[in-house]
Subunit: 215 residues, 4 copies
Amino acid sequence: MEPEGHRGVGMAPGRLLTLADGIFAIAMTLLVLDLRLPDMTSTGAVDLLSRLATLTSRFGTFVISFVVLGVFWFAHHQTFHFVVRVNRTLVWLSVLFFMGVALIPFVASVLGANPTDPIALTLYGGVIGLLTVLGYVVWWYLTGDHGLVVRGLDPTLVRKVRQWIAVGPAIALVAIILAFVNPILSFLIYLALPVLFIAFNPVDSYFERLREGEV
Amino acid sequence: MEPEGHRGVGMAPGRLLTLADGIFAIAMTLLVLDLRLPDMTSTGAVDLLSRLATLTSRFGTFVISFVVLGVFWFAHHQTFHFVVRVNRTLVWLSVLFFMGVALIPFVASVLGANPTDPIALTLYGGVIGLLTVLGYVVWWYLTGDHGLVVRGLDPTLVRKVRQWIAVGPAIALVAIILAFVNPILSFLIYLALPVLFIAFNPVDSYFERLREGEV
Amino acid sequence: MEPEGHRGVGMAPGRLLTLADGIFAIAMTLLVLDLRLPDMTSTGAVDLLSRLATLTSRFGTFVISFVVLGVFWFAHHQTFHFVVRVNRTLVWLSVLFFMGVALIPFVASVLGANPTDPIALTLYGGVIGLLTVLGYVVWWYLTGDHGLVVRGLDPTLVRKVRQWIAVGPAIALVAIILAFVNPILSFLIYLALPVLFIAFNPVDSYFERLREGEV
Amino acid sequence: MEPEGHRGVGMAPGRLLTLADGIFAIAMTLLVLDLRLPDMTSTGAVDLLSRLATLTSRFGTFVISFVVLGVFWFAHHQTFHFVVRVNRTLVWLSVLFFMGVALIPFVASVLGANPTDPIALTLYGGVIGLLTVLGYVVWWYLTGDHGLVVRGLDPTLVRKVRQWIAVGPAIALVAIILAFVNPILSFLIYLALPVLFIAFNPVDSYFERLREGEV
């Protein structure tokens, strides 16, 4: 016998979302710890401006990584908008996804210190690729027959989101291959990720069409 | 066909606010990492009191930055009080705003170590100025015709909040110019920001007038 | 004219509580950053056990500070249980309170490295004292005639909580005075704070009496 | 007289869960701070790949600790799913539990730097053991006659969860004993914890049986 009716149907997504938001907020803010002014003796620079100039590539990696984490947070927010219940498998796929998120400050730090090293670019691309593959698996599992999302979710939206996420691993792969040919181009490829994800966002377009239809 | 009624109208602001509160909480608490007692050998100071004394300007920057982040958090809280829905553009303006928030511990650290250096003061003022400009853009976008805020929001309040936020970039600009003339005065200008924002808070006054009208 | 009814009566305490929980969670977890194994060369210790032994006083400060932050979090939770609305003054008293919370990892670090130094003990006691004084002011303001707490709050409870919080500054003062006479006793006094706050908790007793009365 | 009806019955678990999620999110993300590339001079390694290779055991500890924290978070989520009210004793048992969670980044850091040292393995196993013992005590207290969980909670589920948690201290004890015999095997034992906790999860099975029964 289940106590107090609907409480027992399963676990609501609330706490998984709080954990997700906490991990994203911390990973995004920890990125700034990599921006540390070198002391004067180690660089030989006398004035503050030249010491700040040594942080240029680290600052570039900070900006890209912050925006990339913003992309993943928003994609997480949008796909979990339709979730009504979590189960064991979804929690463990999420924990793996969070592990990738927590690794971003590390790979960003390695890349910021070695911006044109193919190994650093591969490491960064590897974590991004892992996150997009996990995102794909999560969406595929969510929209399977497990009763985790709202009933009657539009199949066209399900397919469009799947195609949208699939662009991620492709970009990561291109960036990794380019790392060994043209490191600077590889670095810039990561900027394409936010642009593509923001410009071609099927969930946002879906809501916009819905609202126009309601008028 | 939209599943389960109102869920599909758009995305509620809940998770964006959780992310915002998380990023503010972490940025505010990370400020303390800059307060580190120097070891005895590097300073030549023998007793604890003189080692603590070396942290004076860092402590001043800690207090100012904590209060400044409090000002931005409260302004964010007050302007988002009227938000009922978020969309893609609002999320990306918010991510840029959060990037500025996450940069505060870095520019505070540079300023704490170089409290009278015009470059450090300019850097600090630049991030504060960026945050106030972004705050202005967010409020302008929110109150535009995008259906993001409550219906029938008082136009006088909308205008007063806009004017209130516009004081921010002006203060930042004055502080940056003063940095090259009188660094200590420039440092003190940042204290004016909390005072002005707290004393002339149109949202709080608006609620107070409303409550008095209800009696 | 106020849009959409009750939304405009004022600001709900939700986000202030999220910020509070975030700052407490981070301050509590940052305490662990002070537990760092010294490298072999700097200590001359060969095995891991003797290197861990150098952390004894830091570990003691970690435990006390974690429990002290737990005390303040629980007191915050209990006093804000009755809050229905926040205003400008309450937000700014809270920001000052949070600044004290964020300083705990710093003063704990100073105390952990100098456990019997009267200055370190005074600094620690000063922040604890500041937090209890701010807690007293917050409770006094909350229960004043500002419409911030639930209607009909039991005046006996209001008075008992006031007396309960007033014990805090007294303990901090005793610990600071003792710091110059008997540092080890001063260190131990901070352990009395959790014990007293846990044993004589008027809010918990109040709920227990209420439930018994309902039977 | 209790103000505004049900508010006074006791304290809802909301804020304790927010604090828990915050502490777990921070502890999980702080693990990454232990992954720091050594500088070239200290290792003698010339290329990035060999410098990354020095982080192998730290990376292994990162993955295990992240998954272990995921296990504890999910167990906390599942057991607190049935909680409707918190009291003083539950809060203080939780604060002790959180202290153990906050210690994980420290013991993980010690283990990552000394992966085959029996002392490091014992320290790690000790904190894991403490967390499982505290988890056992929390569940025992929750399901006692204190009115903290939903009415009519299935006694079979209560017993099964108790047995499930009791496996934890047993695993920790085996790992600690093995640390002095075969350190590598001891290290691997910690991997059994997630596997066992995920595979034999009575709460998830309980929900699955419930849903099948409803069809």
